[in-house]
């Protein structure tokens, strides 16, 4: 089998046994791999109503057919499971080098089942699988866990683990790999923690076979050329990383500030990508086979590590009213060490600050002299540590994410979340397509299920009026479908600034020997989208949850360049349901599922 390794490794954590299975090629081609194939297996094997922490829930770690091949930025893997945060199907994506190593070990997917009686680590060296006691690393932060396990592992092995956040079942915890890369969202780390699994160490020795190596050389050269010539992937991302967005999003007046109370942060310059590059950047970093190298490696005082990304800078910065870059860098660092999702962690602190502003959290609730005042950068690191360890009342509630925390304190409306997952760094009141995308995302509040910022702000592939309503449903659908394919193929979404559907088809065909067209690729994405939707409906996620926080629907932006706007979601949603082939109520029609072969 070209591209694919052809094997699934099924691991039973309850009795520390495993078996390998042949990959079903027809199913793989239909659902591609990664997010799509992982979701298909979830639908077959895990009842949608299962509690996320029930041993019956499974964690599927899935590479795509292009993972570990020479295709540009083809080093991604997905963690697919039922989310404890949203109750939806979750699939969180990560880069680095771990995913490609799993492929080199000979596996497309790992299926983790059951629950280990005691903390355990799994070592995979090609077909040698070993279960080892994890008592000595349980409770340890990510960098420490990684260096201890590196000593026990074969040379150059790659390490994936959870931090204290996942161990303590924080619903906003991540799965970490290569120290600072995160499958961040939807609390996937907690599901791994609930299975008493601390780490998976992997070392592989075989490369996937390629259907047409000559052709692949040609199309890789062509795609690399496109990535280099494109302003975003050839200049913007390599020079400034994602952080360069701070100023542009702020200049447009859609940079949510103080928990989305306003959308223009007058101190944005202090947390900008330009400021980061001038004062804190040590070097750039890249993932497997990636020519873009958008990763940053920064230093602030005693702290030195990967990141921070744009989303993180915003979440700990403007969302919390913080303009001190050092505090942001340190909070990012500790989020990675605790194994927490930086977006959800920052937005949860922002919600706590609003609860404090509104008197729902009082000084009597706060210990250790910490602050929840807007702009309290000096307290961020301690809040992150408390969240990861569920320390104290507030730390324990923060570990549950903003929605459950705000509900506990009697004001759920301050949670800036969709389907209980915290929203990212773009105010949809001034970017209307992105608002529709947030509301309909299959894993709740998320920008990478469809990055409408690309056409609505950056003008790629063409400039759309960000305030317009017309045509946005169509754009959202195409972006969601194409993204579902990219996530399933094992590529980084950032390649899509420069590569189009046809480009992806060419790369895929050269590796797999298929004859996919651009239409086939979008149809595969559509199929995956509908499969996820179907799973969510069966899990009890009602279409009434295709909405946004009331603040974004009803309260006009109070000032700045996007002043006076609300989201106007209700004007876009019916059209979206219609072009998806769903009923007026948002349920996929039988004929739609049949046509797509879901």
């Amino acid at each position: 089998m070209n591209g694919y390794a052809g094997k699934i490794l099924r691991i039973n954590l309850s009795d520390h046994t495993y078996k390998t299975e042949e990959l079903d090629k027809d199913k793989a081609l239909k659902y591609i791999g990664g997010r799509g194939l992982g979701s298909r297996i979830m639908a077959e094997e895990v009842p949608p109503t299962v509690d996320a922490f029930d041993p019956e829930n499974k964690v599927i770690i899935a590479t795509g057919p292009l993972t570990g091949t020479p295709t540009p930025a083809g080093g991604r893997y997905m963690v697919v499971t039922k989310s404890p945060l949203t109750g939806t199907i979750a699939s969180s994506n990560s880069g680095g080098f771990w995913g490609s190593e799993l492929k080199f070990a000979g596996y497309d997917l790992l299926i983790l089942e059951g629950k280990s009686p005691k903390p355990v680590n799994i070592f995979i060296e090609d077909d040698k699988i070993t279960f080892k006691d994890a008592a000595h690393v349980w409770g340890k932060i990510v960098s420490e866990t990684t260096s201890i396990l590196a000593e026990e592992a074969p040379d150059k092995a790659k390490i994936l683990c959870i931090g204290p956040g996942g161990e303590n079942l924080s619903k906003i915890s991540a799965v970490m790999n290569d120290i600072n890369r995160a499958a961040g969202r939807s609390g996937v780390g907690a599901v791994v923690g609930s299975k008493n699994l601390k780490a998976i160490v992997v070392k592989g020795s075989s490369k996937p076979t390629i259907a047409d190596s000559e052709k692949l050389k040609e199309v890789v050269k062509e795609s690399r050329g496109k990535l280099k010539d494109n302003g975003v992937t050839g200049q913007g991302l390599p020079t400034y990383g994602t952080a360069v967005l701070v100023n542009i999003i702020n200049e447009g007046g859609v940079f949510p500030t103080n928990n989305f109370q306003t959308t223009y942060f007058d101190k944005a310059e202090n947390i900008s990508g330009e400021h980061l590059a001038e004062n804190f950047l040590i070097k750039r970093e890249s993932c497997f086979a990636c020519p873009i190298a958008c990763g940053r490696y920064t230093k602030a005082d005693e702290v030195e590590g990967g990141g921070p990304e744009y989303e993180t800078i915003w979440a700990f910065g403007a969302a919390c009213g913080v303009d001190d870059m050092k505090s942001v860098i340190k909070a990012n660092f500790w989020c990675n060490e605790m194994g927490l999702d930086t977006i959800s962690a920052g937005v949860t602190i922002a919600a706590a600050m609003e609860l404090y502003q509104r008197g729902k959290i009082t000084d009597a609730d706060i210990d250790d002299g910490l602050s929840l005042k807007w702009g309290a950068g000096e307290s961020l690191v301690e809040w992150v540590k408390k969240m990861g360890r569920r320390d104290g009342l507030i730390g324990d509630k923060m570990a549950e994410g903003s929605y459950r925390m705000a509900t506990h304190f009697g004001m759920p409306e301050v949670a800036m979340a969709v389907k209980k997952q915290e929203l990212p760094a773009y105010d949809p009141r001034g970017i209307r397509g992105q608002g529709l995308q947030y509301a309909t995302s299959n894993r709740g509040g998320c920008h990478v299920r469809g990055y409408l910022i690309s056409p609505e702000i950056l003008g790629l592939p063409q400039k759309l009026d960000r305030f317009a309503i017309d045509g946005k449903a169509e754009w959202v659908k195409i972006f969601q479908d194409l993204t579902a394919f990219i996530d399933s193929a094992g590529l980084c979404l950032f390649t899509s600034f420069a590569i189009d559907g046809e480009g992806y088809a060419n790369l895929t065909n050269a590796v797999l020997g298929t004859d996919f067209t651009q239409e086939d690729i979008l149809e595969a994405g559509d199929r995956i989208w509908n499969l996820e939707r179907d799973y969510n409906l069966k899990a009890g996620i009602d279409p009434s949850q295709d909405t946004l926080p009331k603040r974004l629907l009803k309260d006009p932006i109070p000032d700045g360049p996007s002043k006076g706007n609300v989201t106007r979601l209700e004007e876009m949603l019916p059209k979206y349901y219609e072009i998806r082939g769903w009923s007026e109520k948002g349920i996929p029609k039988a004929e739609t599922l049949e046509k797509l072969g879901v």
Binding site: G231, V232, V244, L245, N247, E251, G252, P424, I453, L458
Partner: protein, 74 residues
């Protein structure tokens, strides 16, 4: 008339972050980039008062023009 120009990322090199320009009436963003010796091809995003701008639109007293080279995504 006086307008404010904000520059970002690589466009700041040798120019600064924020400038005030005195321009003739009916001047356009095209005049602004000419004055600042910025090539049109280096401008990826042009905003006037935070809204999508046009190279040929007439500027008004105290407008804010923000100019970005190709930037990243997040």
């Amino acid at each position: 008339m006086k307008i404010k120009v904000r520059l970002f990322a690589t466009l700041r090199e040798n120019r600064g972050k924020e400038l005030e320009l005195s321009l003739q009436d009916k001047a356009t963003p095209e005049d602004v980039i000419q004055e600042l010796e910025i090539a049109k091809s280096d401008v990826a995003i042009l905003l006037v008062n935070g809204r999508d701008g046009d190279f040929s639109q007439e500027l008004r007293e105290s407008d804010v023009v923000s100019i970005f080279p190709p930037v990243g995504g997040g």
